[in-house]
């Protein structure tokens, strides 16, 4: 299967409806933004797609290959160095040493590769978390708030790396509050609010979606 698909997915936590009847498809080769106000269900949706949780109703269809993931709270080995973290998870795939080096360089981690992760700033921990999503060179990558705590230069590096990654038949789904940062690279936009899909269309880099987004979530 070459897509991630949610069919009628709902999720309830202790009586709270986090997602309600969501139908979505993440196709190959897209840079797909998933946006919405706080509490709209974006992280819940990611959890279901990654298999960290189960839907209360509906079905989540995943590709056979494991999906790469960047987490809202960086998920790292705190007592290992940047390089050690990258090597551990790169070894779970077969992308090779050269690709690992590319990821590390493109995301600006060469200067901190020997630093223990627990000693890094929040911004660098975020970059390591993003890097870990890509070290296996998976077909599908989900990134939850990948630009949080990053300075402008780091944001540009991440956005550029993600855009280049999607040039082939690889897909990156980004949950973000920084929609404008992804600008003309964006292929598809999905807007979630109160656990439901308000908007889900191809935008193909057009900037009109920014105004549309603000209107939808106002």
């Amino acid at each position: 299967m070459d897509e991630i698909r949610l069919d009628g997915v709902s999720k309830r936590y202790d009586g709270v409806v986090a997602l309600s009847g969501v139908d979505l498809r993440f196709a190959t080769g897209d840079l797909h933004a998933l946006v919405g106000p706080n509490g709209s269900g974006k992280s819940t949706l990611f959890s279901l797609v990654l298999g960290l949780d189960r839907p209360s109703a509906g079905t989540v269809h995943r590709p056979e290959e494991r999906v790469g993931s960047g987490f809202q709270t960086p998920s790292l080995y705190p007592d290992l160095t940047v390089d050690e973290n990258l090597r551990v998870f790169a070894a779970m795939g077969d992308a090779g040493e050269e690709w690992l080096g590319t990821v590390r360089t493109e995301l600006g981690l060469d200067g901190v590769r020997e630093r223990v992760v627990a000693d890094l700033s929040g911004g660098y921990q975020r970059l390591v978390d993003v890097a870990l999503a890509f070290v296996r060179r998976p077909t599908f990558v989900l990134l939850d708030e990948p630009l949080d705590e990053l300075d402008d230069a780091a944001r540009d590096r991440v956005v550029g790396f993600v855009a280049d990654y999607c040039e082939g038949d690889r897909t990156v789904v980004v949950s973000t509050h920084h929609l404008d940062a992804f600008g003309p690279s964006l292929d598809r936009l999905t807007v979630l609010a109160d656990g439901a899909v308000l908007y889900d269309e191809r935008v193909d880099g057009q900037e009109e979606y920014l105004a549309l987004y603000r209107e939808l979530v106002a």
């Binding site: 960290l52 949780d53 189960r54 999906v67 960086p74 998920s75 080995y77 007592d79 296996r136």
Partner: protein, 357 residues
């Protein structure tokens, strides 16, 4: 100096953590106080001692009479044969064997009451003198001339050697309920990624290899110290190492199960510390069971760690055959299997409850 707002913060903290506070500062102290009730005495009146006839000529009345005499300073159990009694002594089912000669009620007869203790059970050496002295005093009720002898069976060991053999098990318990849960809690942030990229089962398998190696390293370290001190404790005995390994697996599984079930919370850490404290307090690591009370003897019997310690002492300290402890070896294996199932269930529950935060 704004102390007021910071005090208010402490009130907020108390309100948010009332459960943990109740557990640590109400329930734990109460249990601690209650635990003292299990100490009845300092004279070991409830330590099991075997009473057995020296020959077929010994009558039931004579056995009952001697059982009654020794009952005030021990918990006597009658055995039909001296061989069975000695087996029970080696297995630490009893801590002394009182062999009764015939002719107690015959005037002019010379009767011997023999008290045998295990040379490896060092902490019963002095109490056994109390038992012997009591018997000497009370044996004057018999019309015969009664000689009470005390002897030590099996190789004698020193108190340091005894404690060393016992410490092997409790060293692993210390790791299982403190360091191992701390180690995994520290890596908790990465569990989500591991679940996506691999699985928690693979993570636990890798940890099992790591901690097996570290546990072996710890046993080697303590073993080298024992060797340097010329202790007569066979730490490298394969069955001893096997029992230590099984017990270590079991205790780690229990501790990690608590950690996973409580999602590595502070409450879980306290539960593990409480389990360790309870284990040390009620597994009778040093004294014979029943030394302080019959209640503690019963509690020790329920504790798998107590049985593991007996086996380790029997094999490493006393050089006994593993066949003497088949039931306890099976118990160690069963405890390990049950504990691993407990951990597996806790991990499944952890995954089913979804993401943290």
């Amino acid at each position: 100096m704004a102390v007021g707002p910071l005090l208010e913060k402490e009130l907020f903290w108390l309100r948010r953590n009332w459960g943990a506070v109740a557990l640590v500062f109400l329930l734990a102290p109460a249990l601690f106080g209650l635990a003292t009730a299990s100490f009845d005495q300092t004279v070991p009146r409830d330590v099991p001692v075997a009473v057995t006839p020296a020959s077929d000529a010994v009558t039931d009345d004579e056995l009952e009479a001697v059982t009654g005499l020794v009952g005030t300073v021990s918990a006597p159990r009658q055995f039909d044969s001296p061989e069975d009694a000695r087996t029970a002594l080696r297995r630490e089912r009893v801590y002394g064997v009182l062999t009764v000669g015939s002719g107690l009620y015959e005037s002019g007869a010379n009767v011997t009451l023999s008290v045998a203790i295990d040379g490896g059970m060092v902490t019963y050496t002095e109490p056994s003198r109390v038992v012997t002295a009591t018997l000497r005093d009370r044996a004057e009720v018999f019309p015969s001339t009664v000689t009470v002898e005390r002897r030590v069976d099996g190789p004698q060991r020193t108190l340091p050697e005894f404690l060393f053999a016992t410490a092997l098990v409790y060293l692993l318990a210390g790791y299982a309920f403190t360091y191992v849960p701390y180690h995994l809690a520290r890596e908790r942030r990465v569990f989500e990624r591991v679940r996506v990229e691999s699985s928690l089962w693979s993570l636990l398998a890798a940890k099992a290899v790591l901690f097996a190696a570290l546990g072996a390293l710890a046993v080697c370290s303590i073993g080298l110290v024992g060797a340097a001190l010329v202790y007569r404790v066979a730490v490298a005995d394969p069955v001893t190492l096997g029992v230590l390994g099984l017990t270590g697996v079991a205790l780690v599984a229990v501790g990690l199960g608590v950690s996973f079930l409580t999602r590595f919370s502070v409450a879980g850490r306290f539960v593990n510390v409480a389990l360790l404290a309870g284990l040390v307090a009620f597994s009778n690591p040093v004294y014979p069971t029943g030394f302080f009370s019959a209640t503690r003897r019963t509690l020790a019997g329920w504790m798998p760690v107590y049985h593991a310690t007996v086996v380790v002492r029997g094999l490493a300290l006393k050089g006994l055959s593993p066949g003497l402890f088949t039931d306890r070896l099976l118990l160690a294996g069963g405890f390990a299997a049950a504990s691993v199932c407990w951990l597996a269930g806790a991990v499944v529950a952890y995954e089913r409850r979804g993401r943290d935060g």
